[in-house]
Amino acid sequence: MPFAGIDIGSTMTKAIIVDHEERILASVIGPTGAEHRHLALKVIDEALQKASLAMEGLDFIVATGYGRISVPFADKQITEITCHARGIRALLPTVRIIIDIGGQDSKGIKLDNEGKVANFVMNDKCAAGTGRFLEVIAETLGLKLDRLGKISLTAEAYVQISNTCTVFAEHEVTSRLAEGASIPEIVAGLHEAIAGRVINMVRHLGMEKDVVVTGGGAMNIGLVRAIENKVGFPVLIPPEPLLTGALGAALAGHDFVRRGVTPDHGRRRERVTFFQ
């Protein structure tokens, strides 16, 4: 009995297939960038191929993420809050707070003792506090996004980036450079700014151990260190931080089947059109 979860985020599409013992049969992280988002069907096909399965062979498909509503082949849609919680419950059952830093938004989720969502917060429509913020600034600095974390660790101090607005921060970074600040110091300052913004938001839930960081933000070691500094203790990082939402979606599909829930409507093998 295989189950699939597909997480269509703002910058990436992720798919996972698990079996009835909740072992991962296949996982795929789809192409990055807005222009590729409609390729969700390709991503799930790739995962099916890896697992040597056909779509008809899947017992349940759950879609999550911002693009979930428009997945024509999904049996049900669930928000990423619930899916992240479900994924983390399976991976790291001691976690009480999830901090997810994605491409276009960040969120905090509080779990109760059973690992269910007790409360959550999401950032507002502003790009600050998200991966997008770093992406824009990396471009300004002429750096690759995935190098930012390591670069910042070489800094002995950080310069304060007081503007949390992406547009203004870009100007601020340029003028800090002109004042003679080093690139590592600036990148460390950016991580401080994002961590500060995210942690302030998540504090509304009440900080409680264990804390896990997921999403693209978890892959930036500099940002993770800045978050740890703010919360005052080490945080956990799942082995595949981008995949917790998709994993949770697949597991939620299994939960549905166990509870005898039937799919909302028929599957259609069509492209995802929502973002075009």
């Binding site: 911002y66 669930i78 928000t79 990423e80 809050i81 619930t82 938004d105 109760d112 059973e114 269910k116 969502v117 007790a118 409360n119 959550f120 917060v121 999401m122 507002d124 429509k125 509304h204 009440g206």
Partner: protein, 435 residues
């Protein structure tokens, strides 16, 4: 390129009476225009300033400028006024109600008349402006700023209440005396402007009518504990027009009497707002999103109904001692008692009167979750929400969520974000009830 029209902004109401409120709103501005034409005095004013009965007793027709801003938003006709105020130099962080009001006044001055197509015929030029310090600072400063566009006198009163830890017995007389003096100052000003003396009998009459309307309204809300919910929060945000904009008028009493009968009928016959009520939500605070009231129906599509709300529910009826024989003194007493009515309870428990009210509602109305609306430009109703949430969390574990936008400025609203949050909130409620 043509602009794509937003077709639906308002909410589908649960009660017939709420659907009749539109007429009451139209009448506010129509009667102001008529009064103007007949040479009567009209005044810009701020609701909840405790002086409504005085204005009515002086036969001055009130124009509630805040309500006009909300009306513009519900009609999605606010942008040109907001932009005008901003072009005149008012910051985007200033209260958006004030920006709409000031933008409207500025445009009316520039055009030499009411801007074409202004909702409900626009606001006529007032003969005076009556501000107040009740609730927030813009309500005191706004009309002073409007003096830039309007050459009419302004009078603003102070409306005071003690801090929650004050010794009420020790400070009471002082507060009441001060409040009375504030009202007396307003009365002298209005007497000067109208050339008429205040008739105290008439003031008693407006007080009686206003208290009767609020008593009925209170009784209606007490019936809303019923399951299924007979009247949702979006109806409250309509029917409050009678209580806040018609106090001292027979219209308000008649309106609430009819609403009382309707709600009673619904309760007795178990007629709910939605057929399958799964979750009961408390609207914990913040001005309503006037630009997107259909969001309440969006919650309903998941079986969640807003059973009760704290916003636009300033106070419950209070009992002024019968020894008070002067109507102005009565108003001062009432104002004090209203402001302090939850202090004792707060001191015995959470220390916070707002939290006490919310806890009381969560309990009585069998609430499953709380939703707050943070309005970026209304500090008065937004500051404290996170604090309330935190204190509430010590007494209850029901989910709470804060949606962020503004009461009227659409630039602060993101539909995708709200829908994502609401979806997750409903799933959280479902997860709890599945236990």
């Amino acid at each position: 390129m043509e602009q794509k029209e937003q077709t639906k902004t308002t909410a589908v109401k649960g009660t017939d009476m709420a659907r009749k409120v539109r007429g009451l709103v139209k009448n506010i501005y129509r009667s102001a225009h008529e009064a103007k034409a007949q040479g009567k005095k009209v005044a810009y004013m701020m609701v909840s300033s405790q002086y409504d009965e005085i204005i009515r007793a002086m036969d001055v027709v009130p124009i509630p400028t805040e309500n006009y801003a909300g009306l513009c938003a519900a009609k999605r006709e606010m942008d040109r006024f907001l932009l005008k105020a901003e072009a005149d130099g008012y910051s985007q962080v200033l209260c958006s109600y004030a920006r709409i009001g000031l933008g409207f006044d500025s445009l009316r001055k520039e055009l030499g008349g009411i801007p074409e197509g202004a909702p409900d015929g626009g606001m006529p030029t007032p003969d005076m402006m009556l501000g107040s310090s009740a609730v927030c600072d813009p309500r005191y400063k706004w009309f002073q700023a409007a003096g830039r566009y309007l050459d009419v006198p302004t009078y603003s009163i102070d409306v005071v209440w003690p801090p929650v830890d004050a010794d009420l017995k020790a400070v009471r007389d002082h507060y009441i005396q001060y409040q009375k003096e504030q009202f007396q100052g307003l009365i002298s000003f209005m007497e000067q402007q109208t050339g008429k003396k205040l008739n105290k009998e008439r003031l008693w009459e407006t007080i009686r009518l206003s208290d009767e309307a609020w008593r009925l309204w209170y009784e209606i809300d007490r019936m809303r504990v019923a399951i299924p919910s007979p009247m949702p929060a979006q109806d409250h945000f309509s029917v409050m027009v009678a209580g806040y904009y018609y106090p001292g008028m027979q219209e308000a009493v008649d309106f609430y009497q009819s609403l009382y009968d309707e709600v009673k009928y619904k309760v007795e016959n178990k007629i709910g707002v939605i057929p399958d009520e799964k979750y009961r939500i408390l609207y914990g605070g913040g001005l309503p999103p006037w630009h997107t009231l259909w969001i309440f129906n969006y919650f309903e599509s998941f079986g969640a109904v807003f059973a009760i709300e704290r916003q636009y529910r300033a106070y419950d009826p209070v009992e002024v001692p019968s020894s008070v024989k002067d109507p102005v003194e009565f108003l001062a007493w009432r104002s004090f008692l209203r402001a302090t009515q939850f202090y004792e309870k707060a001191r015995a428990n959470s220390g916070n009167p707002t939290v006490e009210r919310l806890l009381g509602m969560i309990d009585r109305y069998a609430i499953d979750g709380v939703v707050f609306h943070a309005c970026r430009s209304c500090r008065a109703t937004t500051i404290g929400q996170v604090h309330y949430k935190n204190i509430l969390g010590r007494y209850t574990d029901i989910p709470m969520m804060q949606l962020v936008s503004d009461m009227v400025d659409l630039r602060d609203y993101s539909e995708a974000q709200w829908k994502a949050q609401i979806g997750a909130f409903i799933e959280t409620l479902a997860g709890r009830s599945a236990r």
